[in-house]
């Protein structure tokens, strides 16, 4: 038996800790705990204001028990149709623009200058929050669904290009190489060597984005970018909580239906 082994035999084994130094390990833990206590202590709560708010909150919850779909039915329908149009158009346009950008943003197939430009576009789109873009575009194009459509198209580019580019970067190189060895043009190579590998992901992400765009279209209405969000905002402004509740229920049901649909589609395309 070698010396190293003899030393090991008969002694228990433990997984090596993530942070080697015991002082650091304990120090970091205690520091985090102290910060947590201080942070909680620093929150100022105005209890009388909370008490007042509870009443309003309760009215809101009660309204949910009897949502009013009827008195503003035409407004709700109009808002929903607008939202659906915004969602579908922005998703379609966003995907169409995202695909070439994703090809450019995939480091394994794009030359360096193209890669940098496309990554730049992706970074810009992801850095700007939807609400901020919507406020800017409402200022430029005025209130209404056009601003919402443009905002969501722009946001879709950042989301889809980035994730699709990552899938392209993770593809099986040998399949693409084998196609390349047959002497195709660049587009043929993408169509045969790359596209089949990333298609399920593209479909899955597109469905997911459709879902997100619908939810976002409800939020964007609050800053004037049209859709069901605008209807919801109006309902709140008029203290019509029962109508607001009806709108929220419709949004929830629609999102759940989309979620269910995208689940089925994603399972099918594998």
């Amino acid at each position: 038996m070698s010396g190293v082994l003899a030393e090991r035999i008969g002694r228990p084994w433990k997984k090596p800790p993530l942070i080697k130094s015991a002082a650091w390990r304990w120090g970091l833990g205690i520091a985090a705990l102290v910060y947590l206590v201080l942070a909680i202590g620093s929150i100022e709560v105005n209890w009388s204001r909370v008490y007042e708010g509870l009443e309003r909150g309760w009215a809101f919850i009660v309204a949910f028990a009897n949502p009013d779909f009827n008195s503003r039915a035409s407004d709700i329908t109009e808002g929903m149709i607008e939202s659906v149009i915004i969602t579908i158009t922005s998703t379609v346009v966003g995907i169409a623009i995202s695909i070439p950008i994703a090809l450019g943003a995939a480091g394994n197939i794009a030359p360096m200058p193209v890669y940098l430009i496309c990554r730049g576009i992706v970074a810009l789109s992801r850095a700007l929050n939807e609400i901020i873009v919507a406020i800017l575009l409402v200022a430029i194009f005025g209130f209404g669904p056009l601003a919402g459509f443009l905002t969501l198209s722009f946001a879709t580019i950042g989301f889809l290009s980035k994730l699709l580019a990552e899938d392209i970067e993770n593809m099986d190189r040998s399949q693409a190489e084998a196609i390349k060895a047959t002497g195709p043009s660049w587009l043929q190579w993408i169509n045969y060597g790359v596209q089949p590998q990333v298609m399920p992901r593209l479909i899955g992400l597109s469905m997911y984005r459709l879902d997100i765009n619908f939810r976002e279209s409800a939020v964007l209405g609050l800053v004037g970018a049209g859709g069901i969000g605008a209807t919801l905002n109006t309902a709140f402004d008029r203290y019509e909580f029962d109508t607001a509740a009806a709108i929220l229920l419709i949004i929830i049901v629609t999102v759940m239906a989309l979620e269910y649909l995208s689940g089925i589609i994603r399972a099918r395309v594998q």
Binding site: A178, A181, T182, G183, Y192, P196
Partner: protein, 263 residues
């Protein structure tokens, strides 16, 4: 037919994978390239169709010098070099037929290939080749539904439908069982003989190489150590290629095993 002149590849890391390799492959000759892992076998065949860009040296396919070709010229010459891969490298989500027809991409326009409307002569040839490799019934199956041996047969059909002058074959049997390995090697060699194709076959299995090919080239550390008939692979030669080991068993095996017919 294929001529390499001082073909050299130095990777960016500074590793010299090929050290001024000279090689002449006449028309119709099937050549096995053996050597230890990392000897540069893969780099050598990929430097010929420039999936790897050689650092210096020249390569001629017939009268065409390959290393100086631009985009369009390279694509045209790649059509004349069919390639068969170690892990088959079929596009798994495409059908068997699409995989075979992808060998015609260099000959058809984008829209035809995009819409999968290949010329009737290509379609007929694809069916003939699938029949030849025994997979006619699998034409509409997805490639990932096939077994390893079947996939490699599709890979062979894809390479042949290019109507190549040369086959570049990279470890065709590395992921196959011994029996399937022999069938695949036999199929490749038969098809080369039928069509008068030259082939360079990278292979780990020395005994298998000896069984089927007319010429063996041994590569070590990017340089050719041996070039001759399969019978010339004595224990001394194998030691210079691979290093010290008891080689007798490897060589004896060739005589002991009997061949099975192609299933």
């Amino acid at each position: 037919m294929l001529r390499l002149e001082k073909l050299t590849k130095t990777y960016r890391t500074g590793d010299q994978a090929l050290k001024a390799v000279d090689l002449d492959v006449p028309k119709g000759q099937v050549l096995a390239l053996i050597g230890p892992s990392g000897a540069g076998k893969s780099t050598l065949i990929r430097s010929i169709n420039r999936l790897v860009e050689p650092t210096s040296g020249k390569a001629w396919l017939g009268d065409v010098e390959l290393t100086s070709l631009g985009g369009a010229g390279l694509r045209r010459e790649r059509r004349r070099m069919g390639m068969i891969f170690q892990e088959y490298a079929l596009v798994e989500r495409l059908t068997v037929m699409e995989n075979v027809l992808s060998g015609r991409l260099g000959y058809v326009g984008f829209w035809r290939s995009f819409l999968r409307r290949f010329p009737q002569s290509d379609v007929d040839e694809a069916f003939r080749l699938l029949d030849r490799v025994g997979l006619l019934a699998m034409a509409d199956k997805r490639a990932d539904e096939l077994s390893g041996g079947q996939r490699q047969r599709v890979g062979i059909a894809r390479a042949l439908i290019q109507n190549p002058a040369l086959l570049l074959v990279d470890e065709p049997t590395a992921s196959l069982d011994p029996k399937t390995s022999r069938q695949i090697m036999r199929l490749i060699c038969e098809l080369c003989a039928e069509r008068g194709l030259a082939a360079i076959i990278n292979i780990h299995d020395v005994a298998l190489a000896q069984m089927f090919v007319a010429r063996v080239v041994g590569l070590r550390a990017g340089a050719i150590e041996f070039d001759g008939l399969p019978d010339g692979l004595t224990p001394e030669v194998l030691t210079t290629i691979y290093g010290e080991e008891d080689w007798q068993a490897t060589i004896d095996k060739v005589d002991d095993e009997e061949d099975e017919a192609v299933a």
